[in-house]
């Protein structure tokens, strides 16, 4: 069941802790993919992201905060690829999805990473650069029993999905960075 998968994911994250990081300057705009750029707001480290089709940044380490940029996701592509999980079972991005569908897509995909008790809320329109986008919030639990909060912003442009997700423990870390993430979301530069 998922227990075996949780161990694999946990180990993968531990291993990523040993991987090389690349520093991200707080005050220089960064292109994160699919012609989407952001102003980082704080100093980040770019880390390896095993099993996740995203560029991953972290401020204090991936176990404490993760900022994931899923960019240019094409129809038929999932957001994650997890060893031991049949690809047929991972929900893929589809043409014609509405914001509710995208929110369910993300929740379903991170469930395959081993997160539990996932709940999404507050789906609302929000600008994604110059494009029409949307935001939502989520809560979940890690395999270590840690309560995690998250916020996401997304847009569908030219038939592709761009989604930025921030996850951090509810205790201390989410609150520490939530204002900065709001500012980072507002700094997104992306054409319609």
């Amino acid at each position: 069941m998922k227990t075996a998968r949780l161990m694999v994911i946990g180990v993968a994250f531990l291993l990523s802790g040993c991987a090389a990081y690349t520093a991200i300057d707080a005050n220089k705009p960064v292109v994160v993919g699919n012609k989407v750029s952001v102003m980082p707001q704080i100093a980040w480290a770019k880390a390896a992201s095993p099993g996740v089709a995203a560029t991953l940044w972290t401020a204090d380490g991936v176990a404490l905060d993760s900022l994931m940029f899923f960019t240019g996701i094409e129809p038929g592509q999932p957001l994650v690829s997890v060893a031991g999980v049949d690809k047929k079972e991972v929900l893929k991005y589809r043409t014609g999805m509405v914001p509710d569908d995208v929110m369910e897509l993300l929740a379903s995909n991170i469930e395959k990473l081993g997160y539990r008790q996932i709940a999404t809320a507050n789906l609302r329109p929000a600008p994604f650069g110059q494009a029409e986008g949307f935001r939502f919030d989520l809560t979940c639990t890690t395999s270590e029993g840690l309560k995690v909060k998250g916020m996401a912003i997304a847009a569908q442009r030219s038939g592709k999905l761009d989604l930025v997700l921030f996850l951090a423990p509810d205790e201390y870390y989410y609150g520490r960075y939530s204002d900065k993430i709001d500012s980072l979301f507002a700094s997104i530069n992306a054409a319609k």
Binding site: M1, V8, V11, A12, L15, V98, Q117, P125, T141
Partner: protein, 385 residues
Amino acid sequence: MIMRRALALLCASLLVSGEATAAKPQPVGELPLNYTPAPDSDEAGLWMMSVEVEKGFRSSPLLVRDPALNAYVKSVVCKVAPDRCDAIRIYILDIPYFNAAMSPNGAMQVWTGLLLRAHNEAQLAYILGHETSHYTLRHTIDMWRRARSATGGLMVLTLLTAGIGALAAIGMMNSLMAHSRDEEREADEHGFLLASAAGYDPAQSAEIWRAEAAEDKVTPKHEDIFSFTHTHPAPEERLATMQKRAAELSQGHHEWIVNKGVYLDAVKAFRAHWLDEDVALGHYDASLLLLNELIANEPESGLLRFYQGELYRRRNAVGDPQNAVAAYQAAAQFADVPAAAFRGLGITQMKAGDKTAARQAFEKYLAVAPDAGDRAMVEYYLSHL
């Protein structure tokens, strides 16, 4: 990567150990009342390990702490095994799979996926009777002696206490505690006698296995390795056995306890969450089968029909949008329809291009749930119709 492979190998070795090393169990006999193992015995060591895992249950975010639900499940255990009532501790864990498990020291896990699937108290009683029987028949010490002689039991103990995570530890513990199929058959028979002696309808024992056998056929097999059916007799075999035993017991007896209403009242407050979790697994075929079973048991549930609509909408196979609309509309006929059914109906009709129907559904959603957290999104949808 090496660590990942080592963990996978360890899991694999644990999973096969229950069967491969089951040369010939040496039964230690039924657990005496108020029993505590001798301090220098291997059984005492096993109990100590169980105490550590039980501590993990208490602090786990997966633990369902609702006093009323815990008291209800405990009351069923006490009806089935009154002489063990004080010794058994119940831990309801929020895990959306059909499972329950028993530690040798009397800590019983009951997963919410089991509580979602039971149709009535009698069905729950037969499962709890089975688990209680593993405890009273001391199956775990037999298994432990087999496993320890063949695999690195101490290595497992070290891993269990090495901070690998709450759910991972629960899974490894359950894997370690996997009984042989003969022990499972013995617990089936013993549990059957306990629950039927308490007056529970024996036909319900067969009924829950009939539903589980059907669901098992459409559940992805890799999701099954830690579930109730993995080391247990095949659901079909169990179903045949239970049907035969129920037929034998039912002759001339007409006053069995089922307690459907009592059971549904006890779980009512939690079902939306449990269904949310089941739908989120993405096992659409298995979930649809489960919902059909639940709807057959509760034909007037708007909540269940809403989740049927959600499953069809998310699966989005040929014909599913039409099935989703029908399910949402059916849900709307009942008093307990969730407001979200109208949002789901609106989304499905909007995607189908039926703007008028979509508008009506979204407006109904906002009328029923004016303070909804996604009001701005639904208003956005409306503005584009």
